[in-house]
C-alpha cells in the first residue's frame, strides 16, 4: 500500500537529476543484447509449451544470461571501487559499500566458475566505465542504487529463462542479495521501501 506521501516522495526522488543516466542506459542495453543470445531456449519453451525436458537440457542455453550477468557484476564491482576510492564516503557508508562490493565479487566469481565449467573464458571488466562526476556521498550512493536497481530488474526478468537448476538456484540467491542492497541504499537515500 503506497500512501500519497510515499508516492510523491518517490516521484520527487525519481525526478531528481541523475549523474549517470547515459551510462546506466548503456549498461541496460548491453545487458539486454547479451541476454538476447539466450533467447533460443526460451523461444523453444514458448513453442513447445513444455518446460520439463528443457529444464535439464543443454547448459549452453544459459550462456547468454550468465555472460550478461557477469557484465553487470563486473560493472558493479568497478562502481563500488570508484565510490570507495572517491574519498567521499563516511566510514559507516564505506563499510557497507565494501561489504556490497564483496557480494558482487562473490557473484562474479560464481558466474565465472560456471562459465569456465562450460568451456567459456569469462570476460573481465571493461577498460573504462563512465560513472559521471562523483562529487558527494549522495552521488556515490545514487550510482550504487541505480546499479542495484538495474541488476534486480535484470535478474528478475531473466530468472525464468535459466535452464539448469544449479544456475537458477545461484541466480535466485544473487537476486536476493541485489534486493537487499537496493533496499538498504533506498533507505539511506530516503527512497520509500514500502
Amino acid at each position: 500500500m503506497k500512501t500519497e506521501t510515499s508516492l510523491k516522495e518517490q516521484k520527487d526522488w525519481l525526478d531528481m537529476p541523475k549523474n549517470d543516466d547515459a551510462s546506466h542506459g548503456t549498461a541496460r542495453r548491453e545487458w539486454m543484447r547479451l541476454a538476447g543470445t539466450a533467447s533460443a531456449g526460451a523461444l523453444l519453451y514458448l513453442v513447445t509449451g513444455n518446460p520439463k525436458p528443457l529444464y535439464a537440457q543443454s547448459k549452453e542455453g544459459d550462456l547468454g544470461i550468465l555472460t550478461a550477468a557477469l557484465y553487470l557484476e563486473n560493472e558493479a564491482v568497478t562502481a563500488y571501487q570508484a565510490g570507495a576510492e572517491s574519498k567521499l564516503l563516511s566510514a559507516g557508508v564505506l563499510k557497507v559499500a565494501v561489504a556490497f562490493q564483496s557480494d558482487h565479487k562473490y557473484h562474479r566469481d560464481g558466474i565465472s566458475g560456471v562459465l569456465k565449467s562450460l568451456g567459456v573464458t569469462p570476460s573481465g571488466p571493461e577498460k573504462k566505465y563512465d560513472f559521471g562526476h562523483l562529487r558527494s556521498e549522495n552521488d556515490v550512493l545514487r550510482l550504487a542504487r541505480d546499479r542495484e536497481h538495474g541488476a534486480v530488474q535484470a535478474y528478475a526478468t531473466l530468472a525464468s529463462n535459466i535452464l539448469t537448476r544449479p544456475v537458477l538456484n545461484f541466480g535466485a540467491n544473487v537476486l536476493a542479495d541485489e534486493v537487499r542492497h537496493l533496499t538498504i541504499l533506498n533507505s539511506v537515500l530516503g527512497v520509500p521501501n514500502y
Binding site: 503506497k2 518446460p51 530468472a159 535466485a172 533507505s187 521501501n193
Partner: protein, 187 residues
C-alpha cells in the same frame, strides 16, 4: 512460531511421511507436510511438486497476513510502523491471491488459513517487529530454497517478485531492529 512449526512437522511426519516436503528456512525446518496433505490426487492435477511448494508458500502467506493483523490490532505500533505493516500486509495478500490462482489453475486445492495462530506474547512494538522479521526471514528462505525446484515457468515467474518482496520486507525489519544487513546468506 517455532513451536508451531515443529509441532506441524511432527504431526506431518506421523500422518503423511511420504508426502512430506521440508523447507529449509534459515536453519529451521518448516514442515510442509501438514499443509501439503490438502493436495488432491485427481488425475488432472499438473505439476504436483510445484503445487505442494505453492501450498506451503500459501500457508506462510496466510500466517503473515494474520501476524500483521495481530500487530495492527494491538495498537502498539506508531503511525509510521503501522503504515509499513499495512503496506507489507497488502503485499502478502497479493501473494496469497496469486498463489491461490496458480494452485486452482493447475488443478490443486489451496490450503485455508488456520482458525488461529499462536504468535506468543506481544507487549511492545518491538515484539511485533521481531515477529514480523522472523516470519519474513522464514518466507525469504523458503522461497530461496524452493525456487529452483519449480518445474513450471509460469509459476516460477510468479514466485520471483514474491521473493523480491520477502527480501525487501525482511531487510526493512532487520534495519529497524538494528540487525546486520550486510551479511550475505551462505550459498
Amino acid at each position: 512460531m517455532l513451536n508451531e512449526i515443529l509441532k506441524d512437522e511432527k504431526e506431518a511426519s506421523k500422518k503423511q511421511f511420504s508426502r512430506r516436503q521440508v523447507l529449509k528456512a534459515g536453519g529451521l525446518s518448516v514442515a510442509a507436510g501438514a499443509l501439503a496433505t490438502a493436495l488432491p490426487v485427481a488425475a488432472e492435477v499438473k505439476y504436483g511438486g510445484d503445487l505442494a511448494i505453492l501450498n506451503v508458500a500459501l500457508g506462510l502467506e496466510h500466517q503473515a497476513i494474520a501476524a500483521y493483523d495481530a500487530g495492527a490490532k494491538s495498537k502498539l505500533l506508531s503511525a509510521d510502523q503501522l503504515k509499513i505493516a499495512l503496506s507489507f500486509q497488502t503485499d502478502h495478500k497479493r501473494h496469497r491471491d496469486a498463489l491461490i490462482h496458480y494452485i486452482h489453475h493447475f488443478g490443486g486445492t489451496p490450503v485455508d488459513a488456520k482458525a488461529s495462530y499462536d504468535f506468543g506474547t506481544i507487549t511492545s512494538a518491538t515484539d511485533i517487529v521481531k515477529l514480523a522479521q522472523s516470519l519474513e526471514d522464514g518466507a525469504e528462505n523458503a522461497y530461496l530454497a524452493n525456487a529452483a525446484k519449480l518445474e513450471n515457468r509460469e509459476i516460477l515467474n510468479a514466485a520471483v517478485p514474491i521473493l523480491e518482496d520477502e527480501v525487501r520486507h525482511n531487510t526493512v525489519f532487520k534495519q529497524l531492529l538494528g540487525l546486520d544487513v550486510t551479511e550475505r546468506l551462505k550459498y
